[in-house]
Assembly symmetry: C14
Homo-oligomer: 93 residues x 14
């Protein structure tokens, strides 16, 4: 197997693991915040606006770490700088 093949295999594995492991944290963190938000809503319904606004802005921030993982996965699959280098090299040959 040549060098392009090894880079493809490594990228596929790294992409799968990065997204798989990286989804655990944000999902648990957001689930916890959401659970507390509903509890807070039941306790103080008059503050529903402030609570839901803070919740969704905060969840977007928690989501950001999940999105970093997604971005890294996409880069590994579709904009892999090492792959591009060797493809260009092969094209030049």
């Amino acid at each position: 197997m040549d060098i392009l093949g090894w880079i493809a295999v490594a990228s596929i594995f790294a992409a799968g693991l990065c997204m798989g492991i990286g989804a655990i944290g944000p999902a648990l963190g957001e689930g916890r915040a959401l659970a507390q938000a509903l509890s807070a809503l039941a306790q103080q319904p008059d503050e529903a606006n402030t609570i839901t606004r803070t919740l969704f802005v905060g969840m977007a921030m928690v989501e950001s770490t999940g999105i970093y993982c997604f971005v890294v996965t996409m880069i590994l699959l579709f904009a892999n700088p090492f792959w591009n280098h060797f493809i260009k090299l092969a094209a030049e040959k």
Copy 2:
């Protein structure tokens, strides 16, 4: 085994692990939020509308990390850029 075979094997394993591990976080997070929502409903039935609306919008957001995993799995299986490259290469030969 040639290069296409290795990429196929790697994609199959990465797809299986990515979805398998990636399903743990969202399921636990959503389960926690849902549990708290039911507790909140029992405590403050008059706010049922606000609570269920916030719950389902929030769960959709938690679900998003699970969907990222599903998307990565589908890309690995059906739109794998490395596979496509080598298939095209093999077709050109």
Copy 3:
């Protein structure tokens, strides 16, 4: 062992692990939500309708991550794109 054999072995392992690991999260999440629902029912029997409706809609959503795993498992076993490619190749030969 030829290339078809390796893909078969990889698909079998990935399918088993994906479903096995992927069943942990949804089952625990749903169990938690169900437990809280029963507690809420005992606390507020008059809201039984709202509670059970929210419960089953929510559990369907949690179940969705388990179903993603099942879908990926089924794709790996019965609609594996890599397998199909090599079967077609072998048939053409």
Copy 4:
């Protein structure tokens, strides 16, 4: 060892692990829900009907992830598409 042997060994291992790991989640989830149901029954005996009905419908839903695992195990053992392919191939020879 020929290709059929490898597929048999892989299927046996994957079946054992899939069922073994996949039984942890549903059993713990159902156990938790059942425990809460009994606590709810003691707290609100008049709602016994609603509680037990919700319990068993919910447990069936939790059980579903365990059943997915069982189904995948049975498919791997008795309706393995890869095994069938190679058996047919061997029969044609």
Copy 5:
């Protein structure tokens, strides 16, 4: 070692692991439910009938995942389809 030997070794290991790991979940889940049942009995002795009936029906359901594991173990040991195939093959020879 011929192919029958490998399948025997794989089946023995898979059977041992499947039952060993698969016994953890149901035992913990049932233990939890049983503990709560006794607590409920002490709290509401008049409902002893409903509580014990729900307990044993529920435990049977939790036990089911343990029984799936036992069934898979027995199939692997005594009704292994792959073993039977190769035994038949060897007998025909």
Copy 6:
């Protein structure tokens, strides 16, 4: 080492692991139930009969998963179908 040796080694390891791991769940589950039973006895001494009866019937049920493990271990050691097959084969030779 011939085939009988490998099967013996595999059976010994599988038996040891199956019983070792399989003893964790039932012991913890029964310990938890027993602890709660004693707490319930102290709280409601008049219900001692119902509580201890439910406890021992329930513990027998939890014990069942431990007994499945013990049965599988005994089958692997003393009634191993694969071992018997090869012993018979060797005797026929």
Copy 7:
């Protein structure tokens, strides 16, 4: 190393692991039950007889899983059926 050596090594390892791992569960389970018993005694000294009787009968039941492990360990060391088979074989030669 001949076949008897491998079986000896496997039996020694399996015996050590089976007893080592198998001692964790019962010890923790009994410790928990004992702790609760002492708490119950302090709370309801008049029921000391019922509590200690239930405690020791229950602990014997929890101990049973530890004893299964000890029995399997002893069988592996002193009544190992595979070892006996090969010893008899060697004696006949």
Copy 8:
């Protein structure tokens, strides 16, 4: 495979693991803070300004460890000093 290939493979794996593992901590930490913030809002609505301001400044600080991981991942992929060294070396040749 030459030296550039090994560095590419190592960078891809390290990048995937660094981001995947590094996303767990910040997401859980921010989720916890957000949950408590919502609880605090419900308890003391008049302090909403101070609470949300402290929350977002604090979350930015927690996020910083996630961003360190992202920066390291980006450096590994796009500004890898070892890769640059060998590329320059190859260009000089």
Copy 9:
């Protein structure tokens, strides 16, 4: 290295692991029971006799699993049946 050497190495490792792992459970279990006993003593000093008697009888029972491990370790080191077999064999030669 001959067969006696391998058995010695295996016995040493198995003895070390069996005692090392097997000490975790009893120590934690007894520590928990002892902690609760002291708490019970402070709560009900008049029952000091019953409490300490139950404590020490119970701890002896918990200790039993630790002693099983110690016994297995001693058997592996000083009364190892497999070692004795091969020593006798070597002496006969």
Copy 10:
């Protein structure tokens, strides 16, 4: 692969793991402190100044362990003394 290549590969892996693992602790620790700070603010709004000052000074101290990891990662990537030694050696040749 020559010695420079091995050092590059080792540095890349060590940098990725050091930052990835090292981000877990500070993020969780800071998240916990931040959560408690918000709870304290809601409880004692008049002390907002002291609380936020203590919070940010303390978080900077917790962050310091994360920064140690970042520093080590940067040293490994950009000021690696072993790499510099061999580069100088190669330049002298």
Copy 11:
């Protein structure tokens, strides 16, 4: 490396692991008991004598599992029966 060397290496590793792992349980168990003892002293200072006496007798019992580990470690290092056997053998030669 001859047989004495392997036994020395195995004994060193087994001794280190046995003591290292075996120190976790007793230390945690005793720490827990000690913590509760201090809490009990603060709650019931008049029973200081009974409490400290029970504490130290109990801690000696918990310590016993740690001492078993120490004894096994010392036996492995200074009274290793397998080592002695081969030393005697080497001396006789």
Copy 12:
């Protein structure tokens, strides 16, 4: 690869792991102390001076274990005695 290369690779890995793992403990410990300090401030604002002084002296002490790790990492990278020995040896040659 010569001896200097192996020492460089080992030092790089050990440095990365030592700092990465060693940052978990201090960060969590300090985070916990800081959280409690803020809670104590809210509860007893008049003691702010004593509390913050004790907090920062204590955190410096917790930090010390993190600093030990940093020191060991720096020694491994910049004052490695084994590296220096072989460098001197190479210089003498």
Copy 13:
């Protein structure tokens, strides 16, 4: 590498692991006891003498398991019986 080298390498690794792992238990156990002691002091300042005396005697006992580890580590490094044996052997030659 000769036999002395292997024993040195094994001793170094075993010493590092034994101390590293063995420090976890005592530190956590003592930290817990110390925390409870401070809580007890705040609750019952008049018993400060009894509490601190019991604390330090108890902590010395918990520390003992840490000291066992330190002793084993020192024996492995400076009084290693296996090392001494081979050194004497080498000196005699």
Copy 14:
């Protein structure tokens, strides 16, 4: 690679792991004690002297296990008896 090289590599790895793992326990234990001390200060400000004195004496004792690890690490790096033996041997040659 000669014997000195292997000992250097082993010492570097053991030093890194010993300090890295050994820092977890003391840091968490001290953090817990410090947290409780601050809580005690807020509860009983008049006992500030006794509490802080006990805290720092106790933390020094907890720190001792961390210092054991540091000492072992320093011995492995700078006073390694095995290294010194072989250095002396090499010098004599």
